[in-house]
């Protein structure tokens, strides 16, 4: 017995040490152990600037990375553990037992940068703008809030969302980094006011913006969290060339590039700067895949589609493409490793995910022969004319298809033409079709295969079973039950080879070791408020 206890203690000690050791290697937690230093301006390089400054009306990372530090949101993903939702302007939230009402309590000590207090009326006005956009404005993520029937602000500290039906994703959507809170008085005058102006209540105040060049914020001394932010300010340099952004981090002109750099650049920087830089890898809720046009022959034939997906060796693709492009994760329709994902063993049973490639290719050839293509086939793979990761991804996939006698021609299209081809004209046979989200949420990814969503459903899948499953999983509040439905949805998509999944993106972020207390969230849209980030001495 004593030996058992001693062994138990020893195991416990080892486990504790291991946990401590791993904790010390995590950037967020290691930084937490150090004493934060006040002052300094965080310098970042970014690849683009946004059409406007209003996050409700934009969908590019270039918007949210620049302006997130200037605003509060109702809820947020925990900056140090993105799987958790915590409050921001909201302090607590409660869903009614029938799942039809979500009540959020709003902090009463928050002031906008113009000095006016933030109340539930501002929250209501902001969410009204998102859910029921007034004429002349757009709301990019309106579809995520179709479930909302009404928004009420019964008193300054309470906001109530009335839903049409229970929604598993609703509370997570309240933590969306895009849903910043604007002061109502400006929205009343002009709902587009914040396209060119900033009045937030975030840790930083707007300082300056030169379009195409720089964007700056400065410390908000009245921020509602005492002693935050640590930084005096932040400044983004807008530089579209990846190699130049990498050189900026390498030369110290920028402390960080938040979106992530190709692994080859990260390695070069690490080789040169050693422990002066820190590398963080963040598996991201985003994939690159191939969509088949189901309205064009022979892609309406499940045998052809299945052959094409069987021919792709995703495990080798991961090894080859990760250093070049950041594409790494082998997974289904939800991010591998996330709470909704099926286990690797389950995944391997699905067409295209088995590890025996000889067997897969033999089956693929057999299927093609059965479909009337015993000598292979030829078609065009429409693609975006962006090298990383689009072109590299296509080159690999085309090589794989060659092994089963299929000749695909990569046709690079300029971004606007590629969007048009995928969504409007549908003038393609197969097309490289990525999908990137701000969180792990099945509602956001599965919608690509739902018949009522023609603009995201590039393949034009029309399967009543999928439509029904999509509705059901979205209304199922029990996570275990919901996971079953999500995985069932995935199985149908892959069994019927509705599209050929590629790989999931893993961001590699290299930053100066001076940057402390910032942990790369899975999504490059999240954890950009910077309220806890500080800069160590040079």
């Amino acid at each position: 017995m004593a030996t058992g206890i001693r062994r138990g203690r020893a195991v416990l000690t080892i486990v504790t040490l291991a946990v401590l050791a791993s904790a010390l290697t995590l950037p967020g937690t290691s930084a937490a152990a150090e004493t934060p230093r006040k002052g300094g301006v965080l310098l970042a390089a970014i690849g683009a600037d946004p059409p406007s400054l209003d996050p409700h009306q934009e969908s590019t990372f270039a918007n949210v990375q620049l302006v997130a530090p200037l605003y509060s949101t109702l809820l947020q993903f925990d900056p140090l553990d993105s799987s958790k939702i915590i409050g921001d302007a909201g302090t607590s939230w409660k869903t009614s037992p029938d799942g039809l009402t979500v009540t959020v309590k709003v902090r009463q000590d928050i002031k906008f940068h113009d000095g006016t207090p933030l109340t539930s009326a501002d929250v209501k006005a902001s969410y009204d703008k998102i859910v029921f956009p007034p004429k002349g404005t757009k709301s990019i993520r309106k579809a995520h809030y179709e479930v909302v029937k009404a928004i009420e602000a019964p008193d300054p500290a309470t906001v109530v969302f009335r839903l049409k039906h229970p929604s598993a994703a609703f509370v997570s959507n309240l933590a969306s980094p895009w849903n910043v809170i604007f002061p109502k008085k400006y929205l009343d005058k002009d709902p587009n006011h914040f396209k060119a102006n900033v009045v937030g209540s975030g840790p930083f105040k707007f300082k300056d913006y030169t379009r195409g060049a720089t964007f700056e914020g400065e410390r908000n001394p009245d921020y509602f969290i005492k002693d935050r932010p640590y930084l005096d300010g932040y400044k983004f340099y807008i530089s579209p060339e990846t190699a130049v952004r990498a050189a900026a981090v390498r030369s110290g002109r920028a402390h960080i590039e938040f979106r992530g750099l190709p692994t080859s650049e990260v390695e070069a920087i690490t080789r040169q700067l050693g422990n002066k830089v820190v590398v963080q890898e963040a598996p991201t809720p985003g994939w690159w895949a191939v969509s088949f046009n189901h309205k064009v022959k022979p892609f309406d034939d499940v045998r052809v589609r299945k052959a094409l997906t069987l021919a792709i060796d995703r495990y080798t693709m991961s090894k080859v493409l990760f250093p070049l492009t950041g594409l790494k994760g082998v997974g289904g329709l939800v991010r591998p490793g996330s709470e909704w994902a099926m286990s690797p063993a389950e995944l391997e049973k699905l067409p295209g995910f088995g590890r025996d490639m000889e067997k897969n290719r033999a089956e693929a050839k057999k299927l093609l022969a059965e479909a009337g293509f015993p000598n292979g086939m030829k078609f065009v793979l429409a693609n975006r004319n962006v090298k990383l990761p689009y072109q590299d991804f296509a080159v690999f996939v085309i090589q794989e298809w060659k092994r089963i006698g299929v000749e695909a021609t990569n046709r690079p299209l300029e971004t606007a033409a590629w969007f048009d081809t995928g969504r409007v004209t549908r003038n393609f046979e197969t097309i490289v079709d990525p999908h990137v989200d701000f969180m792990d949420e099945p509602d956001l990814t599965l919608v690509d295969f739902v018949s009522s969503s023609p603009l995201t459903n590039w393949s034009q899948v029309a399967d009543p079973e999928l439509d029904d499953l999509y509705e059901r999983q979205g209304r199922t509040l029990d996570p275990a039950e919901r996971k079953k439905l999500v995985n069932q949805f995935e199985r149908i998509v892959f069994e019927k080879a509705y599209f050929a999944q590629g790989l999931w993106w893993v961001r590699s972020i290299v930053h100066s070791a001076r940057v402390k207390n910032w942990k790369a969230a899975p999504s490059h849209y999240s954890n950009q408020k910077l309220q806890d980030v500080w800069l160590a001495e040079d």
């Binding site: 195409g212 720089t214 900026a248 030369s251 971004t415 590039w458």
Partner: protein
């Protein structure tokens, strides 16, 4: 002369109108939709068909093409180039942010090129088929053969890897912070100036060689004039006409054509702006920029023609 200048200036109007019409039509013919790009963002995301229609309407893209063209042209006649479809900001404001940088780069690169290329081209011609000529030829052919962006990237990587230093990422006008301006602009100026001077050196060498074979030069030699006088006073001036044409065309090109150099050196100039605007199908911006670039070409060509008269007094304009 005055009538000639007036005539040339009047010709600018149909030229610009022609360019505007062609660009308007081309931009509408190529596939792509700014509304889709605005709503689609980085990867596509979820797009609501109703919102797509609403954005198109908001941007005036639902109007017939002739109405869109007429509205735009009427604005231009009042010096109103409209608003960017992508940002909603007035096109002129967006343009003025970028114009000083592009002008500075074009002027400095032209200056560097002229200072380097004319003496080198002349020297190569005078010392034809000697080692001096060979060295100059290798350098100038190198400048023509090596792409500018590659020189730019190498330049940055060399500085970063060897000195751990990179050029600044932010543009400061020379009258605000001359040192910061110089430390940013010197690298693109060298990169662009190298290619530019390579072209001009080659042209200067050829034209000087041609003039040196003229009868009047032989006469000058026979008269016993000093080599310096023959080359500088008699040969150089007469061989400059093609060189000036080349310098003028290159200068106009530099205003809007340095897309890659501007991207490599993080310069927020007109070239990058043009490419972004085309990629975003931002019609008013593309039209205004093409207008500007066409206008630059027309004016520079006029100035070049007028310079001819100064170099060669036999030329008369009517």
């Amino acid at each position: 002369m005055r009538t000639y200048i007036l005539k040339r200036l009047l010709l600018v109007v149909p030229t610009l109108l022609g360019v505007a019409t062609i660009v308007f039509l081309i931009m509408r013919v190529i596939p792509g939709d700014v509304a889709l790009l605005i709503l689609g963002g980085d990867d596509g995301g979820q797009i609501d068909a109703q919102q797509l229609a609403a954005v198109r309407q908001q941007l005036g893209l639902d109007q017939p093409l002739i109405v869109q063209f007429g509205t735009w042209l009427w604005g231009v006649l009042q010096f109103d180039f409209g608003k960017s479809l992508w940002t909603g900001a007035p096109v002129l404001d967006e343009l003025l942010i970028r114009l000083p940088l592009s002008l500075q780069l074009a002027l400095m690169a032209t200056l560097v090129s002229v200072i380097i290329s004319i003496p080198l081209g002349m020297l190569a011609a005078v010392r034809q088929d000697t080692w001096v000529d060979y060295v100059i030829r290798v350098i100038s052919i190198g400048g023509l053969a090596i792409p500018g962006f590659w020189v730019g990237i190498l330049c940055i990587l060399f500085l970063v890897i060897v000195f751990g230093w990179g050029p600044p990422l932010e543009y400061h006008p020379p009258w605000v912070d001359p040192w910061a301006n110089l430390s940013m602009m010197v690298w693109p100026v060298v990169t662009v100036g190298y290619r530019y001077s390579a072209v001009t050196t080659r042209m200067t060498r050829s034209t000087v060689l041609e003039v040196l074979r003229e009868d009047y030069i032989r006469t000058a030699w026979a008269k016993g004039l000093a080599q310096r006088v023959i080359v500088i006073r008699h040969a150089l001036k007469n061989s400059m006409l093609p060189v000036i044409t080349l310098i003028g065309t290159e200068f106009a090109f530099l205003i809007g054509g340095l897309v890659v150099t501007e991207t490599v050196f993080t310069l927020n100039g007109i070239g990058r702006f043009v490419v972004d605007a085309v990629a975003h199908r931002d019609y008013p911006v593309v039209q205004a920029l093409v207008f500007l670039i066409a206008f630059s070409f027309v004016i520079v060509n006029l100035l070049v023609d007028l310079t001819y008269a100064w170099f060669d007094p036999r030329i008369r304009y009517r």
